[in-house]
Amino acid sequence: MLTVDRIGKSFGGVRALHEISFTVPEGSIFGIMGANGAGKTTLFATIAGNLAPSAGEVRLRDLRLTGLPPHRIAGAGVARTFQIVRPFRGLSVRENVATGLRFGARNRAGAAAMDAAGILGLTGLEPVADRPAGALTLAQQKRLEVARALATGPQLLLLDEVMAGLTPAEVKEMIAMVRSIRSDMGVTVMIIEHVMGALMALSDHVVVLDHGETIAAGPPADVADDPAVQTAYLGRRR
């Protein structure tokens, strides 16, 4: 459904991404792994249009996303969350979700067309729906990131470290939530996660980045055994 075709991104002399290519199958949960600074969030930003890639292009089915402004990419059905949360702090949780519903994808097909109550229920934010978003705990703000993104009615949802900083119990809840987003809402999910166990448990397919390059790709079990991955994560064996 999503094709990333030889994407590159440089900041001055720093090469953040280089020749990244992969295809995300429709209906999958697609994991992105990599150490800090590997380029994972930069990759999301180039897909969502927040950053223009220096090379290559991103396509959603037949639509070329590269070069479109972010709001058009959201209109095409791609939503992202922010690793460092960016809620509309002065608005209530419900208004945050309502804003997502009012904008977002032009074409809300099938299960993606949930209303505010459904989204607040799914993300467990119903009890705090009328509180200002800025007053929520970090775990709640992470869920609000997901809720607001879901409210845009996406076909493809990019989740950027929605589990970082959560307790093990909260991580469990989040895993269940991501699964139901895929199975109940029919949304394809790309997920960046530092919580390795969670990513391995969730993903059908994993890409591993290191210093902006793809060092491994495949089903999670194969990738975990890959020597290059173990080197990048655990250091070189002597």
Binding site: A48, A74, R86, F88, R89, E95, T99, R102, A151, T152
Partner: protein, 309 residues
């Protein structure tokens, strides 16, 4: 469509009631005070669209009033008076569209300074044009009577109040609230931020253009340093600080408060007026950042979370 909430009905009814009552007092003095009051309400409501709803604080809003006044004197005699005022409003809106694209690229304090500089720039351009033409102030003779101007300005105040109320309800208002809270996040969830900001900026310029034309008709002459006086911009911001700028109540409260205060004090104790005004500003910034409207909400906690939904 939802029913009107108090934060919508209160300012509308207040403006309508004042407009209806002042002429009954049977004195041109009250018509003059009402004219000024409605002018400030219209200016402050317009300012609220871009600065309150979208969070882009303009410190140069006088530029739109100045343009409106200038277009009126330029077209004086060539077109009917009302057409001159409408052309002034359109010119102000067009100017906002033209400068909006580059100006709205900067945020926060940079936008504040830029709008101030832009207004001063426009002022000196007009001053130099007038000097080059050998005109030092233009007289307008035979403008409409004060009653006509009064009702025209009352209509402008009502229009401005309605504009804020309607904008907050529609998709544009929801998008502007998102821009105010977090522009990057707004763009990412699908808000066409560039288009919305530009639209808000143009909307916030049209009515001030009309008001500026009426100001010129009332005083009977046009003088650039006065028509583009930055104190007008400062006063608008002061009214928003005192009244609040989250919804249509704030500008009405702020303008009413400041006009009444100045009528009571200005003629008798001008020095005391400035001291009191300064003290009030400091007090509001420190203790009531959302102005009188915010104080009312605080007393009634059901006032709830902010802005459009």
């Amino acid at each position: 469509m939802r029913f009107a909430t108090p934060r919508e009905t209160v300012p509308l009814l207040l403006v309508a009631a004042i407009a209806a009552i002042l002429p009954l007092l049977g004195s041109d003095y009250y018509l003059g005070v009402g004219f000024a009051l409605f002018g400030w309400i219209a200016l402050a409501q317009s300012w609220t669209i871009v600065s309150g709803l979208a969070g882009y604080i303009s410190l140069g809003h006088v530029v739109f009033a100045g343009i409106g006044g200038y277009v009126l004197v330029l077209t004086w005699g060539a077109v009917p008076v009302w057409a001159g005022a409408v052309l002034g409003a359109l010119a102000a809106g067009l100017f906002a569209l033209l400068v909006g694209l580059p100006v709205l690229r900067v945020r926060g304090p940079y936008f504040v300074i830029l709008t101030f500089g832009l207004a001063e720039f426009a002022k000196y351009v007009v001053i130099n044009i007038e000097n080059a033409l050998g005109r030092f102030g233009r007289l307008i003779l035979g403008g409409p009577p004060v009653e006509t101007l009064y009702w025209a300005m009352a209509a402008a105040a009502l229009a401005g109040t309605l504009a804020v109320i309607v904008t907050r309800r529609v998709r544009l208002g929801a998008g502007l609230a998102a821009v105010r809270e977090d522009e990057l996040a707004a763009e990412t969830i699908g808000v066409p931020t560039v288009r919305f900001k530009l639209l808000a900026f143009a909307l916030s310029a049209v009515l001030p253009g009309f008001v500026g034309a009426l100001f010129v008709l009332r005083t009977g002459y046009f003088e650039p340093a006065q028509a583009f006086d930055p104190v007008i911009s400062f006063t608008i911001v002061t009214m928003a600080i005192i009244g609040g700028s989250e919804d249509a109540r704030g500008p009405v409260f702020g303008a009413l408060f400041l006009v009444v205060l100045s009528e009571l004090l200005w003629s008798n104790f001008p020095q005391v007026y400035m001291i009191i005004l300064g003290a009030l500003l400091i007090g509001f910034v420190l203790f009531a950042p959302n102005g009188v409207a915010g104080l009312l909400d605080r007393r009634r906690p059901s006032g709830g979370a902010r802005a459009a939904a």
